[in-house]
Amino acid sequence: MRLVILEDYDLASEWAAKYIRNRIVQARPSADRYFTLGLPTGSTPLGCYKKLIEYYKNGDISFKYVKTFNMDEYVGLPRDHPESYHSYMWNNFFKHIDINPANAHILDGNAADLQKECDTFEQKIADAGGIDLFVGGIGPDGHIAFNEPGSSLVSRTRVKTLAQDTILANARFFGNDLSKVPTMTLTVGVGTVMDAREVMILITGAHKAFALYKAIEEGVNHMWTVSAFQQHPRTIFVCDEDATLELRVKTVKYFKGLMHVHNKLVDPMHSVKDYKD
């Protein structure tokens, strides 16, 4: 496991974006060989998306041969609702880049047969050859995607009922009206993310500090589903200083001491311009 600690949110976002950029550019994706990316929503990855858009606008990266799979979507929320994850992805990422709409996959929370929709999603991931890099965020209770505490650590894409904590936390996005907050979602399982060849988890802010502690300093526990990634061979946690507040000094010092190694992953930055023949 790698733990990358940056000074603040902006630097953590930038580091994550640089990493994604390097991975995509170095994979040299083409019509025969797409790069597959798993993507999160929420406030944490916003800064990272902004940076990726900037790289795209500068001509350093292209998403023409990238396939994306989003982690989750609410059930029963109209797709064009401003809080739907379709709207989020469109407004914060897809509309700004050159991805082919046919390659952008988001679960349909309004599908007639929800479980079938989930099974199809898994199949599409398999057809794409699996996910090269799954980017995720976590909730304060350590949930990854909508795998609430208690979710099976080998779960697959499925319908999930939200925990009361999550519903209450989400009320602020729905005019503080609890009756309007969706109570069910479609979400990839912990096992789905575990299957990715590489996983990057973004954790920023003091309110996520306890979750980060549970994720890396305690044992694997289905009450903190993100802890499952201790058993993934290639996982990077990218966090800011605030998120380390609950960690032991020893842990923080150890990983900070490794920063010169980790920084080699993003420095130098690669660009598609380097590969133009």
């Binding site: 797709r79 064009d80 379709h86 709207s87 469109w90 509309k95 709409p101 988001i106």
Partner: protein, 416 residues
Amino acid sequence: MPSNKSVSDAPITQFINCRILRDHRLQRDDLWVREGKILNPEKLFFDEEGFADLQVDCGDGILAPGFIDVQINGGYGVDFSQAADDISGGMALVAKKILEHGVTSFCPTLVTSPPHIYHKVRATDRVLVSVQVLPQVSVDDGGPGGAGVLGVHLEGPFISREKRGAHPERYLCSLAGGGLKDLLEVYGSLDNVAIVTLAPEIPGSLEVVRQLKERGITVSLGHSVADLSQAEQAVQHGATFITHLFNAMLPFHHRDPGIVGLLTSDQVPENRTIFYGMIADGIHTNPAALRIAHRAHPAGLVLVTDAITAMGLPPGRHTLGQQDIEIEGLHAYVAGTKTLSGSIATMDMCVRHFQQASGCSLEAALEAASLHPAQLLGISHRKGTLNYGTDADFVLLDDELSVRATYIAGHQVWRK
């Protein structure tokens, strides 16, 4: 192969690198157009998995809805009210030239005239239709040939003798013959009429207001000596517009504010906005008066040019009909005098002047020339906004609000 053929295989254009006037503010976003309408790109992306065939770089300009001029009497030597043999050609000329000013649709305005003029115009309207029909753009919506015609604005002859202004006195009419019947006698027909300006103090006018409203025709109050209560009654019967506020009406008085008082009247039915035309050329309305009106009732301000024959002509002396006119800068004088012969303002000038004089936002200035006239005419579901599904009539401007290019139905119809 960009869009999903099952929905449409028409090409899609994406206007990029621009700020779009939408929801009353300038937003950094792209504008997508297909088949002459503004497209919702999110639906295109998720439903059709489609993308743009063509990208147009707007050079960081502003995209605003095309301007709508609901009061224009002519220009470039053409007077819509003169029964010239080739008035359809004249109207087409003006329609084409005002594309330069960002105007994408307009209401050709006829001042008080004898009945044979109205009939003539109506006949030539049809000629205009047959001349301008293009394969993909209907004449009503305009196109490369010129701005669209939304319908005629008939200003008079049912107006006040005292406030007739430049309207010829001998052709003024009463409504003694039974209201709508008088209108039909004078105008011939009410097809293709968008606005009628009348004076509400004329006996029988209230019934006419109601009947015009029922036919979907906008009634405007103007050239009138009406007091406020008469004006309010007309509004309660369906009038929604005031023709060139302050001009050709009783001056504001604190014990009887007259038609001007409608701007702050509490007798206006709920959910109804009173709109008022404003000639913001810096000459016909003092900037202080403009500010008074704007601050009292910003949502109702509609910029109009009220332009006359001389609009668009170069400086110097011109013979127009029976009159010699001397054009100096923004003024058109009766030759040899300092008497103003009418407005020669262009719509883009009015937008700029209004913004500077009122100190309002760019957004508000642009909406006064687009959204508000569309709301006035009840067509804001298809014109006057850049909302999804509306006509792709828009204007590309720089930050000084100078027009760089004009588009109708998504096609560039003029460019600097």
